[in-house]
């Protein structure tokens, strides 16, 4: 049969970010998909050679506007490891709280975009209305809505008072109660079920074979989550990864819906178990230049991110590298797209939660 190549992206109404994908079609069936990476490459990793390591954290945050806190946190934690800095305990707890809040706002953003992609615009607005309240909490506590600039090597730049923390938990629980109705819509609405159920199935074996990460893997039944390793104080919380077994687009939506509720619960536990604020500083002064190299792993909303840092004892790092979760999930996306109908391609692309800014840096 005659084959047609349809370019999908970089500009396409359904794509939130400029993903470049050439679809090879036979009639309406996709037989092959060729991704291209690098459309929005900005050379952020190379900037490390020109910007001093202390200030580079503010560049790392700008890798992506949605995972910005996690990128800043990953860089700061990795640098603290190299420089053997002992961070105040409260700073680590605050980082955990902000990280989980980032997950809530990222998943809400994605659920909205996902709803928009499968044509449920009303639901899209409901999700974004809820997300707005999380951003307000961010603005109150860090001073920014998208880029927080609150992480630094040696701790965090702002403390949150205990009364404020209690108010945040109350606010998030109220938000979670309101979100329960939206969650029920995602899980039970017949039109969503009809559109997503059975579409783009990634089996457990395939998920292992293509090394899927994050909600993509968890929707296929793989309990993979770097929070399980217990680093960054997750060992002090009762944490169980959210798992689904169907592996289709609906399962990936449901995993993210449940992770929002889970993150609210994790923040509640963290506020309960963290030491009370006594006015002590939440950062320590860092002296000297770093030497050595390290890896750091974090669970971002989209999956596992890995940072590699190599320092040579000067003010500038020798190498900074980030392997972002979307990059790890692109093989899974290609696998799912092959053999599906053209009309299902937007849903499959959206359910991997592509973050192209992260991937191409």
């Amino acid at each position: 049969m005659k084959r047609t190549v349809v370019p999908m992206g970089p500009q396409h109404p359904v794509l939130p970010e400029p993903l470049v994908l050439d679809l090879v079609l036979e009639d309406e069936k996709v037989v092959d998909a060729i991704p291209t990476i690098g459309y929005i490459h900005r050379g952020l990793e190379a900037l490390v050679e020109r910007i001093e390591f202390g200030e580079f954290g503010y560049v790392v945050e700008r890798i992506c506007g949605i995972c910005s806190f996690m990128h800043g946190m990953g860089y700061a934690v990795a640098m603290e490891k190299i420089m053997a800095v002992e961070v105040p305990e409260r700073a680590s707890w605050l980082r955990l709280i902000w990280a989980e809040m980032s997950r809530i706002h990222s998943h809400l953003l994605w659920l909205g975009l996902g709803a928009d992609a499968f044509g449920f615009e009303n639901l899209f607005m409901h999700c974004w209305r809820t997300r707005e309240e999380v951003l307000d909490i961010f603005e109150k506590t860090t001073g920014g809505r998208i880029i927080f600039s609150v992480n630094k090597i040696g701790g965090v730049r702002r403390d949150i008072e205990d009364s404020e923390l209690a108010a945040i938990v109350a606010k998030l629980q109220e938000l979670g109660a309101g979100f329960a109705e939206t969650a029920r819509i995602f899980e039970t609405d017949p039109s969503i079920r009809h559109r997503l159920s059975g579409v783009g199935i990634l089996s457990l074996e395939d998920a292992h074979a293509v090394d899927a990460v994050g909600p993509m893997a968890r929707a296929s039944g793989i309990a993979i989550d770097t929070r399980l390793t217990g680093t960054h104080f997750y060992d002090r919380l009762d944490f169980e990864p959210v798992l689904e077994t169907a592996g289709d687009c609906l399962a990936r939506v449901v995993v993210r819906v449940r992770e929002i509720t889970q993150s609210i619960e994790l923040i509640r536990q963290a506020v309960e178990r963290m030491p009370k604020g006594d006015g002590a500083p939440v950062e320590v002064k860092v002296r000297g230049n770093p030497t050595g190299e390290t890896f750091e792993r974090l669970e971002q909303p989209r999956g596992e991110v890995i940072y590699y840092i190599k320092a040579n004892g000067t003010k500038n790092l020798e190498r900074f590298r980030a392997r972002t979760p979307t990059f790890a999930n692109i093989p899974a996306m290609i696998k799912l797209v092959k053999g599906c109908d053209l009309a299902d391609v937007p849903n499959i692309i959206m359910t991997i939660d592509p973050c192209i800014s992260c991937t191409e840096r």
């Binding site: 200030e55 009303n122 707005e132 506590t141 600039s149 819509i185 039970t188 609405d189």
Partner: protein, 145 residues
């Protein structure tokens, strides 16, 4: 098979019909900023000693200063409002404010201010300094719109 009469969105949509909108009537209704909101950088010429600490720390090279010429400048459009310079300043000459008058409200274009967002300050040379070097607007801020 999903039940086609299960319509969980309908109840909420009907409620939304009679409830207030979630959006604001901007610009007549402006959301106030929170107390901790970062804003833009404000500079106080009177306390600055032109040490250049902030200039060295700025990740975007948005600041420039010269001790000899008693000169300080900010490229506001380059600034990412990270607040590193505010932390670095020993003399409290730099602040962050959401109601900074210097960025948006300056209307008079001044000599030397050729780019949007460029603000510069010159201080009169102290007595005994070489002649001819303190001829700029003494002790006042000049800024472009």
């Amino acid at each position: 098979m999903a039940n086609p009469f299960n319509l969980p969105m309908v109840g909420r949509s009907l409620r939304n019909l009679v409830s207030r909108p979630a959006t604001r009537r901007y610009p007549s209704e402006i959301r106030p900023h929170f107390a901790g909101t970062r804003g833009t950088i404000e500079f106080d010429l009177d306390t600055c000693v032109f040490c250049g600490l902030c200039v060295r720390r700025c990740p975007t090279l948005a600041l420039s200063c010269s001790r000899e010429e008693r000169f300080f400048a900010i490229e506001q459009l380059r600034c990412i409002a990270c607040g590193v310079c505010v932390d670095a300043c020993n003399k409290d000459s730099l602040h962050m404010s959401v109601v900074s008058p210097t960025v948006h409200l300056h209307t008079g274009a001044a000599p030397g201010a050729t780019r949007p967002g460029h603000e510069e300050w010159h201080q009169q040379q102290p007595a005994g300094s070489p002649p001819g070097s303190g001829d700029a607007a003494g002790g006042t801020a000049v800024a472009a719109t």
